[in-house]
Structures are given as structure tokens and as C-alpha cells.
């Protein structure tokens, strides 16, 4: 019996007992995960990977599991991505809602469905990676342990071998926004050999509120498959968004991720990519915009375990007011992973004297024939450029907004799917300081 007090343990225990009563599947895994959580508790700044992100405000609140799932469909409509035609799976407070979703025109053999129903029906071929990628032994992974023990539902996406899903799939996790509600959405994606998928995972707060979203995503990219992943975080500005994505990338497969974070009081994104076959490639791009006293923390980890793999990580942040941001980019190169080519860059634009970023590279290299580079820059808007724009007739606000958008634009331009790029651009433009001027392109 431990005498250590774990903050918030009783509320999470109550939630765990509720989930057990509900008879949701995967008992053994859930129990194991909750046991681990009760041992380690919520992460504290004493853990290196949580040094700059203090989650005590989460432990001190009284979060409960969501009661129902009634939501006005029109409230969700504004978070759908316009111009994006394709299947759409919608979950409210972590539970898949088939009535709101539209799973049409998908190739044969493709499954997009509720996680708990898939578990209940014993379709193990679709759920085998559950808990395999998102492990929780590490005390820093306490939120993963919580999600694993408490998820009420989630979405399973399964693409068979040799299947190209043309239209982008949009998974929308909407939080009804009631203060004090927590949800633990779980996403499981398995893409077969030689297949292709473009997936948008978005998290949105329907109304303001201090709720908690604790999401875990596991993605298996089969040999020679291509997966483009897009994540858009538009939580309420009072909400807590803690998420981790774990990706295993097969031989000659290609995985790319573009993450855009625009909302949330505390947002923590962990991305863990494992290059698990020769010639695999992983690209992680991220862009965040943070103001007020909010915090955005991005941690990326890339494991190079096989030879001839490439990885590129580029994260850019725009910080205003008294906002804080954390970027930690870790690259681990195993002894066998010769000819690794890994590049990591982090850039931050500080719009205020009081904004603060902590950025850190972590390279652990155990092979001798590799190329690994990292770089970080932190800067302000260029005074000469600002003056140049003003000397041509643009007012200060407009000039600032043009330059901020320019800072972000090279990341946006890496988004290959035009409707997604345009939509992300539009969402970003609406959030820019002084963004009354909306046309940044000539056409």
C-alpha cells in the first residue's frame, strides 16, 4: 500500500469504476493501465519531459465522465472542413456517433467504425494494435495509461492491403464543452501493405469550457504504404488537450504528419514515430499559434531502428502576450540504423516581450554512419521588413499580420491536399492578430 498521495486519483478511480460497470471491453488492458496510473500519478515537473508543463491544474479540478451525447448538429457544422469531400466520422465527447457521420463511397474492405463496438464484436484483426504502440510503463506516459483505462469509445480505421483511399477521411472529435467533463478518445488506424490513406484528425470545442480531452492515437503503416496525417486542434481556450500519437512505419513506407494547434489552455502533443523497416520515411510538421497565458507543448520522438531511413521534423510557433511554448525533439538512432538521415528544425516567432519558449533537441545516436542535424531559431518580426511594408502603404497591423502569415506559410505550403491547405490557411488567418485583411494571395 502506497502512502504517496496521487493528485486527482479518486476522481480517476471513480471514472475507472464507472467504465468497468459499463462493461466496456478490454478489461485486462484497462486494469493493467489503471494500476500503472495509480502507481505513478499525473506527471510532475520533476520528470524531464514534463519540466516546463505543469499539469497540476488538471489534477486539482473535478473532472467527470460525459453523461450523454446530445449535441446540436449545427454546432458541429462549423468544424467540418469545407471543400473536403470524403468520409466523415464524428465523435462527441469521445464517443462515435454514427447518425452524425457519413461513411460513404469507401473502397471494399475498408472499415471506419466505433472502437468499442469493434472490440465487443471480437474483430481482433482490426484491433490488434490496441496498447501495442502506445505503451505506458514510463511514468511520463501517465496520460496514456489514463486513456487506456478510461476510453469509452473511439474510432477504428482499417485499410486492407493494396487499397488506395482517394478521398481524405475526416475524424472529428467534438467536445460539447461543458466545464468539468473529461473524455479519453482513442483512435486506431491500420493501413495495409501498398495502401494509401489521407487522414484528418481534428479536435474542436463546440462551446467554451474547461474540459479535458486526453486522446491517444495508434497508427500502423504497412510496408510500402503511404499515410498523410493532419491534425487540427481547435479546443476551447479554457480546455486541456493532452494527446499522444504513436506510429509504426513499415519497410519503404512513408508517413507524414502536419499538426496545427490553435486552441486550448494547455495543449500537449506527443508524436512518437518508429521507423521499423528499411527505407522508411517520416515527416513531422507542426505549427502552433498561442496567445494570452496559454501553453502549447510539442514533443516529437523518432526512433530510427533500421538502416536507410529518413526523418524530417519542422515545427514553427507563433507566440503572443504571455504565452508559453515547449518544443522537445528527440531522435534515437539504433546501432543497426546505418545511413540514417534525420533533420529537425524548430522556429519560434515571439510577438511579445513576455512570451516564452523552451526548446531542446535530444539526439541519441548509436550508429556511426548517419547524418543527423538539428537547429532552433527564436526571433521577432523583422523591423526592416515591417518598415518596407508600411512604406508601401500597409498599416502596422496589416504589415504585422502579413509577416506572421509569411512565417507560417512555408509550413502550410507543405500540405499537399489543396482543400486541407486552404482550410487550414483560412482557420489560421482568422486567428492571426489583426486579421481583418483576409486575402493573402492574388488569385
Amino acid at each position: 500500500m502506497t502512502t504517496q498521495l496521487i493528485e486527482g486519483e479518486d476522481m480517476f478511480r471513480a471514472a475507472f469504476e464507472q467504465v468497468q460497470r459499463d462493461g466496456t471491453k478490454a478489461h485486462a488492458l484497462r486494469s493493467q493501465a489503471f494500476t500503472r496510473f495509480s502507481e505513478v500519478g499525473l506527471p510532475t515537473p520533476r520528470l524531464e519531459s514534463w519540466r516546463f508543463t505543469n499539469v497540476r491544474p488538471i489534477g486539482q479540478r473535478r473532472f467527470v465522465m460525459p453523461a450523454g451525447r446530445e449535441v446540436d448538429p449545427s454546432a458541429i457544422a462549423s468544424f467540418e472542413l469545407r471543400g473536403l469531400e470524403g468520409p466523415r466520422a464524428i465523435a462527441i465527447d469521445g464517443r462515435y456517433v454514427p447518425e452524425l457521420s457519413s461513411i460513404k463511397a469507401i473502397p471494399p474492405g475498408v472499415a471506419i467504425q466505433s472502437l468499442t463496438e469493434t472490440l465487443a464484436s471480437g474483430q481482433e484483426l482490426l484491433t490488434w494494435p490496441l496498447g501495442q504502440l502506445a505503451t505506458f510503463d514510463d511514468p511520463a506516459a501517465a496520460f496514456t495509461a489514463l486513456n487506456t483505462s478510461l476510453f469509452q469509445d473511439g474510432i477504428v480505421v482499417s485499410i486492407p492491403d493494396n487499397t488506395v483511399v482517394e478521398a481524405p477521411l475526416h475524424l472529428l472529435f467534438a467536445a460539447t464543452g461543458s466545464s468539468g467533463v473529461m473524455s479519453h478518445p482513442r483512435v486506431l488506424v491500420v493501413v495495409g501493405e501498398n495502401s494509401q490513406l489521407r487522414l484528418v484528425e481534428s479536435y474542436a470545442g463546440v462551446t467554451d469550457g474547461a474540459y479535458l480531452t486526453n486522446a491517444v492515437t495508434e497508427i500502423v503503416v504497412g510496408d510500402n504504404a503511404v499515410v498523410d496525417h493532419y491534425k487540427l486542434v481547435r479546443e476551447s481556450v479554457e480546455a486541456y488537450h493532452i494527446a499522444s500519437m504513436h506510429v509504426r512505419i513499415g519497410r519503404s513506407a512513408n508517413f507524414s504528419s502536419h499538426a496545427i494547434t490553435l486552441g486550448g489552455a494547455i495543449v500537449r502533443n506527443d508524436v512518437v514515430g518508429e521507423l521499423d523497416g528499411e527505407g522508411a520515411e517520416c515527416t513531422l510538421n507542426g505549427l502552433y499559434l498561442v496567445n494570452d497565458t496559454r501553453l502549447v507543448d510539442n514533443h516529437t520522438t523518432i526512433y530510427h531502428t533500421k538502416p536507410h531511413c529518413n526523418s524530417h521534423a519542422l515545427y514553427k510557433g507563433i507566440l503572443d502576450d504571455r504565452a508559453r511554448a515547449v518544443f522537445n525533439g528527440k531522435i534515437v538512432v539504433a546501432p543497426d540504423a546505418q545511413k540514417t538521415d534525420a533533420k529537425q528544425t524548430n522556429k519560434a516567432l515571439l510577438l511579445s516581450e513576455d512570451a516564452q519558449i523552451n526548446t531542446k533537441p535530444e539526439l541519441e545516436i548509436f550508429a556511426d554512419d548517419v547524418k543527423c542535424t538539428h537547429g532552433a531559431t527564436i526571433g521577432q518580426l523583422d523591423a526592416d521588413a515591417l518598415f518596407y511594408l508600411r512604406s508601401r502603404g500597409l498599416d502596422v497591423e496589416q504589415a504585422r499580420s502579413v509577416l506572421i502569415h509569411a512565417f507560417a506559410s512555408d509550413l502550410l505550403n507543405r500540405i499537399a491536399i489543396e482543400p486541407i491547405r486552404a482550410e487550414f490557411d483560412a482557420v489560421l488567418l482568422r486567428q492571426l492578430p489583426g486579421s481583418g485583411h483576409t486575402t493573402f494571395t492574388v488569385a
Binding site: 518598415f387 518596407y388 511594408l389 512604406s391 508601401r392 502603404g393 512565417f407 492574388v442
Partner: protein
């Protein structure tokens, strides 16, 4: 159009302009020449409102208004244009976007309707004639990766589209080969009209073979020490700035 009276300006504690007097009437082209460090670029910067320079005394009146009171963007909208000595590279901002935004800000200020993309492109195409700027340059980020000559031509294109009432050319000719120089001159000459005036700041007389000024002034030690017609430029070319320096020193010592 522009009347400068006893203008003093400093950077930090160093006084660079020490009493400039200059009157530019509608339709006139004035050239200001002078050695390095005489204050030529400072004068240009003060006129367009760069805040690194502090005006400590004197006035500058533009069309009857106190020019020094206006924000840089207000001066631009009122028709003051500076062709920069070192045009700034702005990665991520498309040249065409910037120019369209600039033109429409100026048009809005004048109470004119904004141009749409098609009208704008038609105007630009017409103004590009003779400037040897192709669409490939125009659709790239502002000055990013441009050669020195391309940057200067881009400034001239902006000027040709924005049609300023008062154009200030800050050493636009420096570092240009003769072909680029002719293009720049063509751009400036095309804008010459009874309502528009130009202030050409230059170190060398060469540009003035192609843009014939109405007046030439010599700036030295933060003051205009000599003014004359276009022949003054030739005299300077022949005798060099040393002549002025000695002459000025003699006056001061007298």
C-alpha cells in the same frame, strides 16, 4: 510640393542632417549628390518616416501638410514613394500580393475603388513594358533571392504601378550595369509629368546622363553646400568631391 526648412536629424547622439533647406516644385526633378557619409540616405529615410532617425529641428511640408507628423503608411498613401537603396527580402510574401495590397490601400485613401485581381494584373502587365521584369519575378516572394539588379527593377515596377506624386530614389543606380541603369532611367522618365516630382539621390553622375535633372544639389556634412543646374553634376564628375570638401573647408575657415 515639398518644402524642407532647416532640417536637423540624428541617429542616437550623432547629428547627421545639420540644417537642410530644399524646395521641390511640382514637375521638377532634383538630384542630390554627395560623398559617403554626407547624409544623403538619412535625408531619404527621414522623408519617409523611418523611426531610427530623430528629427531634432526644422520642418518638412508636403502639399501644405506637415510631412513629419504622418506615419510611414500615411505618407505612402499621400503619394510619397521611396525606392530603397537596399530593398528588403521578405520570404513568404508574394511580390504580386504586396503590390496589389499597396495599390489598393492607396486607391482606398484616394476614395477610388479597389482593383480586383484581373484589373490589377492588366495594369501591371502594361507597366512592366520596358522594365524587363517577367511574371516569374513577380510571382516570387518579395526580393527573396533576387539579384541586385532585379531588386532595383522591382522597386521601379512598384513605383510605376503606384504612381507616386513624389518619388525618392535612394542610390537606385548603385551597383547597376549600364543596361539595368537604362531600364531604371526609363521607369523614372516614364513617370515625369507636371504633377509629379522626383528626388534622385546618387553618388555618381552616370544616372544623370539618362535622367536629366532640373536641379543638382551637393550635400556635404549634413548641409546642402551648393546648388545648380544639370551642369553642376558634370563639374562634380570632373573635379571629384574633393573640390567641394576643400571649398567648404575654405568657407568655414574664412
Amino acid at each position: 510640393m515639398l518644402e524642407i526648412r532647416d532640417l536637423h536629424a540624428s541617429v542616437g547622439k550623432r547629428e547627421i542632417l545639420r540644417g537642410i533647406d530644399l524646395i521641390i516644385n511640382d514637375g521638377e526633378v532634383h538630384a542630390i549628390m554627395g560623398p559617403n557619409g554626407s547624409g544623403k540616405s538619412t535625408l531619404a529615410s527621414v522623408l519617409v518616416g523611418r523611426d531610427d532617425y530623430k528629427v531634432t529641428a526644422g520642418t518638412a511640408t508636403y502639399d501644405g501638410r506637415d510631412l513629419l507628423e504622418l506615419e510611414p503608411e500615411e505618407r505612402a498613401r499621400e503619394g510619397v514613394f521611396l525606392a530603397f537603396q537596399y530593398p528588403v527580402e521578405i520570404p513568404g510574401v508574394n511580390s504580386a500580393y504586396l503590390l496589389k495590397a499597396a495599390l489598393n490601400e492607396i486607391r482606398k485613401h484616394r476614395g477610388e475603388s479597389e482593383l480586383d485581381a484581373i484589373e490589377f494584373m492588366a495594369l501591371v502587365k502594361e507597366r512592366m513594358k520596358g522594365l524587363e521584369i517577367g511574371p516569374e519575378l513577380f510571382n516570387r516572394p518579395v526580393n527573396a533571392g533576387f539579384s541586385g539588379g532585379e531588386k532595383k527593377r522591382n522597386e521601379i515596377l512598384q513605383m510605376a504601378v503606384l504612381e507616386p506624386r513624389l518619388a525618392i530614389m535612394d542610390e537606385t543606380d548603385s551597383g547597376l550595369d549600364i543596361d539595368a541603369l537604362k531600364i531604371v532611367a526609363r521607369g523614372v522618365n516614364a513617370l515625369r509629368s507636371p504633377e509629379r516630382s522626383t528626388l534622385i539621390i546618387t553618388h555618381y553622375q552616370r544616372l544623370l546622363n539618362y535622367i536629366v535633372p532640373d536641379f543638382v544639389h551637393v550635400l556635404f556634412g549634413g548641409r546642402i553646400v551648393m546648388s545648380g543646374g544639370k551642369e553642376l553634376a558634370l563639374e562634380l564628375e570632373e573635379k571629384g568631391y574633393g573640390w567641394i570638401e576643400n571649398d567648404t573647408a575654405a568657407q568655414v575657415n574664412a
